[in-house]
Symmetry: C2
């Protein structure tokens, strides 16, 4: 763990202390992904089969996971895991249900009614990474809001599981089914994103794609979102990150456990020392300790002169996850202006929000949380406006519209109103047209 | 105006009838814009001066429009235009004020508090195109929500106005001042977007950029939004578009006036005939009739067998503006699932929403309205989550978190909870830690 003493750093040194690892140069990656997308657009399912052979070692990927196979897999689910998924589902559902949008209607001038309406996006695709382990929690984080919004079609794609075999975890199926999702495809990577964005014979196109993934998936999402014929995406994605802000009263063991990730900011050097001791002890006990040790080598501890500076440093970093373990953690929360998700007090580790508190774990990283919002129910809706003027409404605001359209030299716009005002004048003030 | 008879088209013909004009190939454009951005990043104000000389013919652009100059310009404002701007401001403000977000707090399990909070984005930049005419309406559409959200810093940039002179319209200044904006820069084009995204000595960086612009501006917004060090943007932009859906009872003169733009869908061939006659008459009377005639040559009329098909065609096109002039226009509104803004009935031309009804005129185009929302107050906020578990909350959901983290092979996540559960057990069930 690298240590920095904030008050002894010049501004360049402070920037270094807060720098994120540079993202790998991606010219090659972009070209590879572009080629994969082009092939899927041109050849459809045949391209998916070829990529599945190449990347998954599968000679014939059925693509769609049949109902019978889903039922078979569900039979393998351990009861304890089933119950844990249900608890998480309930909490995530409660929190997201509280976000249901209300339609708005305002009469801005007499006879001028304006509405803002929210309607679910027609079809959404959820990408669930495979990799080293299945991620049922991500199924819930994406599937619950899609279900609550009432998106007419929700599709899930995920890599086939094991090399040369279709092996989807029962936890994935169960979480999907709880969210009302039965359309599941065993395909991953950039080719899955291309299939979702453009459609193939087997997989119908979706309007918007959600979910995390590796560099190929992230790049493919970026590319299809730049094309009007492609699909929208949830948010820019990057590696997960956490910052712990702790004072002298924090429990070093808790801080160390939360920290097996990234950054610690504190106004107490004693706390930093004690956390280092705990880190060494906890690291030794982890099964995949090499990976954790590697991550820790890139992590840093920043000592500040006081808590106010610690808050300022935290805001400057704009972490994805912010864990606050200080005396008045709750009171401090109002001072954070850039974290994507905040975990308050000793009993709130990051894993609470990652799994089961109810908040969403799909969050902006890499400083994007300054402007990009945490995933919420609203991301599964489109908002649009409706307006209706009565004849009286036209009389009330029509002259102002003509004036403004003339000021902007937009004659056709002015004319569309003049014509109506003339028709109203002709019909007389006491027309039945109101 | 091209005419199509929907029921006689095969599916390829239907696609052609709904096709948007292809966007010009943009490899050159992208390279030019990239070079402009790189130069502004490297040379700052010096680059802005050089581009202002090159594109605006200005030998020394003061960049910041002084308070004294703003006051001088305000003195030139015509009282009628001042009043029209005030009416529009009031209506836009009323409609957007109704959208103020509420923070949400839910206790998802006993002792598990989850919150969703909205806070204004720290600094926003509004791009107001110059071109042939000033656009005070766009200042209001962007400035009012920024003001209501309470963004701590709102900046406006706009091209200098006339060739070789700084000449900002008084309407722009007045609209900006109503919205509480006094930080105004006389710079436009891709260089203005670069300055907003990365900052120069004169123009401090902003977090998010809003507003329409020409191809250079649009491309520059796209490019800076792809860079984590750049800035977020409001939405993808394209040329404005309008679709009119009208039945036999619509007023052909009104339809023609609204139509001096793009597409008409109707189940009545008589209406189409009558609109053509009106179009010819109205076109002859317009001052910039060559431009309008050109636009009209690209416009199309689609005849459908019935109103239900007309609605389906409209939904397939996903227009930015949809004007509905049919018998039961209000009732029909619920059937549209993809328009960005809907104008209902004979007295509601597009210009109502463009200027003064209160709705926002910054809208997704080119079919993006299927998934991208109309600009609304929420775009000026960031949403983030906060969670806090009591000791009891940890006891209630901790075991489920451990189970899920184990299912996902994420030991460090499981460990952060196990450690806390062990501490609680040690402290006893009746601890004061709750």
């Amino acid at each position: 763990m690298q240590r920095f003493n904030w008050s002894q750093l010049d501004s360049a040194g402070q920037l270094t202390a807060l720098a994120r690892p540079a993202l790998a140069d991606s010219a090659d990656l972009a070209a590879n992904v572009k080629a994969i997308i082009a092939k899927v657009r041109a050849e459809g399912d045949a391209a998916l089969q070829q990529f599945s052979q190449q990347f998954d070692g599968l000679s014939d990927n059925p693509l769609r996971l049949s109902e019978a196979e889903q039922q078979r897999l569900l039979g393998l689910l351990q009861p304890e895991r089933k119950a844990a998924i249900e608890l998480a589902y309930d909490n995530i559902r409660k929190f997201h249900a509280a976000q249901l949008p209300r339609d708005i209607e305002v009469e801005t001038s007499a006879g001028v009614i304006c509405q803002l309406k929210s309607r679910p996006i027609g079809s959404v695709g959820l990408y669930i990474p495979g990799g080293s382990a299945p991620l049922p929690s991500t199924v819930l984080m994406l599937g619950v809001p899609a279900q609550l919004a009432g998106c007419p079609r929700t599709v899930l794609v995920t890599p086939p599981g094991k090399p040369a075999a279709i092996d989807i975890a029962p936890e994935i199926i169960y979480a999907a089914n709880l969210c009302g999702i039965s359309e599941i495809y065993t395909i991953g990577g950039a080719q899955a994103i291309a299939a979702l964005a453009y459609g193939t014979a087997s997989i119908a196109k979706v309007d918007k794609i959600f979910g995390p993934g590796n560099r190929y998936v992230t790049e493919a999402k970026q590319q299809v979102s730049q094309d009007a014929k492609g699909a929208q995406i949830d948010m820019p994605a990057g590696p997960s990150e956490v910052l712990v802000l702790a004072d002298a009263e924090a429990n070093p063991a808790f801080v160390a456990a939360d920290l097996l990730s990234q950054a610690l900011v504190s106004d107490s050097s004693t706390l930093l020392d004690n956390v280092e001791i705990q880190l060494a002890a906890q690291l030794a006990a982890l099964p995949r300790k090499e990976i954790a040790a590697q991550a820790l080598a890139h992590s840093r501890a920043i000592l500040t002169a006081d808590l106010a500076t610690a808050v300022a440093v935290t805001n400057a970093y704009a972490p994805e996850h912010l864990i606050v373990q200080t005396r008045d953690a709750s009171a401090l929360t109002e001072q954070f202006d850039s974290a994507a998700s905040i975990f308050v007090g000793a009993w709130t580790p990051e894993s609470a929000g990652d799994y089961a508190s109810g908040t969403n774990h799909v969050l902006p990283t890499y400083g994007y949380s300054r402007t990009v919002s945490s995933l919420s129910l609203t991301d599964f809706y489109r908002r649009f406006t409706v307006q209706q003027l009565s004849a009286q409404g036209m009389r009330n605001i029509g002259p102002a519209i003509v004036t403004l359209a003339e000021a902007e030299s937009l004659e056709a716009h002015a004319n569309a109103v003049r014509l109506r005002l003339a028709a109203l004048e002709k019909a007389g003030q006491n027309t039945a047209n109101d």
